[in-house]
Amino acid sequence: MEILSAKGVNFTYADASESVLNEINFTIYKGDFVVFCGPSGSGKSTLLRLIKKEIAPYGDKQGTFFYQKKSIEEHDPLYIAKEIGMVFQDPENQIVMDNVMDELLFGMENVGFSTTEMRKKVAEMVHFFGLNHLVNKKTSELSGGEKQLINLASILLLNPKLILLDEPTAQLDPIASKEFIHFLQRINDEFGITIIIVEHRLEELFAVSNRVMMLDNGKITVDTEPRHAVGKLHHNMRNFLPTTALVYLDFNPDICLDEIPITVKESRQWLLNQKISGKQLEPTRLAKGNPLVELKEIDYQYTKHTPPVLQNLSFTVNHGEWMAIVGANGTGKSTLLKIIGNILKPQHGYIKLNGKKVKQLDPTIIGYLPQNPKVYFLQDSLIKEYRQIVQKQPKKEKDIDYLLEKFQIQHLKNRHPYDLSGGELQKAALIGILLTNPSLLLIDEPTKGMDPDFKDEFGELITDLVEEGLTVIMVTHDIEFAAKHTTKCSMLFQGNITVTENTREFFLENAYYTTAISRITRDSHVPSAVTLEEAKKTWQNQSGS
């Protein structure tokens, strides 16, 4: 049965000349799990917001959305508020209240439930989600994943039939985002709630959805079931597809749309019947390099009464390396980065830069790119910010143009930093940092919220910089990104570095905390690989047709 449909929807923003959405037509049925994908700026979020009338952007809209065969405008707004729920990207900013219980009640109070109704609904919801341990907490004490679950729960309390999600896992770490998607799958499976989700990270979503729609330049270009969508997107949207499917598409001689594997399990099964030969690359040992940063016996705790974040940590990074520090949430990755950057002072231990103990912070040696680059900017346009950074050295004016050119954001230089997309903002802040010519760059979770194409581009930019002699230390959750681009990986666990290895060997030896393709090829008859590029270089499929 039809639940939502769009008939000839066009939309142009109030101050823009070009339209964002062109002739959008679709029909979504009850119980569908729809994934909307597409590059940044393709109009996905706009489309989602237009469905939810209260938060629709200003502009010129033509065409109509129908909810249960009646135009959305004709429905009672209160009814629509209850029926259609929405979860946004940023877990933090959606929360309104100081403690979890009040947050859960907020929506229900808005639509006028009685106390007994509320008490009953909260009780059952808390049981279903297993949120008992969170109910009495302050919202500021929750992790990103927990916050997003509370956001979802507070919407489910209104009994929606349709839930819209705008990149809900973009700010979460991989474990939390898997958990979140698992919950979505449950409410879809067990209650038949229709789900429309806009997302860049599709590895898990292809497996749980039953429909994939691709939005490109304001048009729906693909609208079909996941396996077929993979086949259709193969040529122009490669980066959006799960690695599990890409292996098949690259190595299977002839492609059958219904056979495309979308989970690791399916991919392994397909691999069993393939005769793939190739040379196993020899593992490389850690080379002895020329150390740039040395940390010795670092202890750190935030306050006297909290448990230590880092304990007796020693660690070295050599010149010209791109080191990735991986590890779960709350293991102190960001803290470690801040200590290397001299932003935080450790209680014990010291840091040596080029063999000399560091006493004071020097922005011409260390550049720090924060998790949220918005806080980096002080001026109201990029170019003003850069001019301020180089004000004492007029020679560097040329560098600004050079870097803008190199990073391809020349056209954005007069914009306000807050008007840029997440990826553009990362680049813009990076230019600001590079203007002071640091020899060490610290990056905190750069790939959060970037679309896959942009991620690749960003990775290549940093690789270029590393080749030019910059040393980079990056903290990340994004295993695939680390495997593809970095040279060395370290794992942080319980306040200490447990292992440091060359990237390939690091992921090859890990059984769980590793890339999809490594999980596919592990213990199989084909040569193991860590990235698809590596497989492409070394494999030959002889089972040809």
Partner: protein, 309 residues
């Protein structure tokens, strides 16, 4: 006892039936009445008993931890009052001795004791007020009369930790850029500080748009909100309320008759209680000792329970 110590911080959650489990309205009424009574009954004997009862109440709540913080303050204040009142107040019939040729009156000394005891009592009851009527109970009471303001307060409360964390983020990142509020000339530091505040403001306003969206998406502003009643009036609340009210009415009546006030002038009343005063004293004990009874009953229950097990 060790366990008690460990849990004393979270005692609030454990006490299902203690004084704190009464409906916030009952608690508020209790505090209003007791503070009124403390101010009306100007009799050292009554006030001294009240102070002892309140010490007991404090001890039951948190073993007197909060009260200890006020200890010095109370001692210093009392000393001043006890010394200064007789120096400045010279009305009375009983001259005790002369200090620098000034008569020191017995009446004035008693007056000093009364004032000091009243102040101690009021401080002590406010110390317990903070522990009993917690922020959420206060907000609950507040929202009864001013629901919009209560919501606004709740929204603002969420922003306190948020802004604090954001400011720290901004400070750290700007510090890594070489802009600091800890180094440089005072002028430079002040300028940098203002810049940081400006960023905090623009950044927070920008983020707040999303919060507003999330509120609108959950139907905020479409109609009058309902209010979740976290606390419901139960039978025991009604009983407690009636008891407190009746006791207070009797006490006020006693005050009106002049029984709870030690007459100093024109003739000094004897300090020791007599006649009807004993009746009001019993009521006084029951009213001010009410929390001790409610709370102590629970402590005793646990003691016996543990012994049995």
């Amino acid at each position: 006892m060790d366990l008690y110590k460990k849990l004393s911080g979270k005692w609030d959650q454990l006490m299902v039936r203690g004084f704190r489990s009464f409906h916030p309205f009952v608690l508020l009424v209790y505090y209003v009445f007791v503070i009124t009574s403390l101010m009306l009954y100007q009799h050292p004997f009554f006030l001294l008993t009240a102070v002892f009862l309140l010490i007991g109440f404090n001890y039951l709540l948190d073993k007197g931890e909060q009260l200890k913080k006020w200890g010095w303050m109370i001692v210093i204040m009392c000393t001043f009052i006890l010394i200064l009142t007789p120096l400045f107040n010279r009305r009375g019939n009983h001259i005790e001795f002369y200090l620098f040729n000034n008569p020191i009156m017995l009446e004035a000394m008693i007056q000093g004791v009364v004032i000091a005891l009243t102040l101690i009592g009021i401080i002590m009851i406010f110390v317990t007020f903070n522990m009993v009527i917690t922020a959420d109970k206060f907000l609950f009471l507040f929202s009864k009369w001013l629901p919009k303001w209560a919501l606004l307060t709740m929204l603002a409360m969420r922003f306190v930790p948020l802004l604090k964390r954001r400011l720290q983020d901004i400070e750290q990142v700007q510090q890594s850029k070489g802009m600091s509020i800890k180094h440089g000339s005072i002028r430079q530091r002040a300028r940098n500080g203002m810049l940081l505040m400006q960023i905090l403001l623009t950044f927070s306003l920008e983020e707040a748009i999303q919060t507003a969206d999330s509120m609108a998406a959950r139907g905020y502003g479409l109609q009058k909100r309902s209010k979740y009643q976290a606390y419901a009036m139960q039978k025991r609340d009604t009983f407690a309320l009636s008891f407190i009210s009746v006791a207070t009415v009797i006490i006020i009546f006693g005050w009106w008759l002049g029984d709870g006030v030690l007459m100093l002038l024109p003739i000094l009343e004897p300090l020791w209680l007599y006649g009807r005063e004993w009746f009001y004293f019993t009521i006084w004990l029951l009213l001010i000792g009410f929390p001790i009874w409610a709370e102590g009953k629970e402590v005793m229950k646990w003691k016996f329970y543990q012994q049995k097990v």
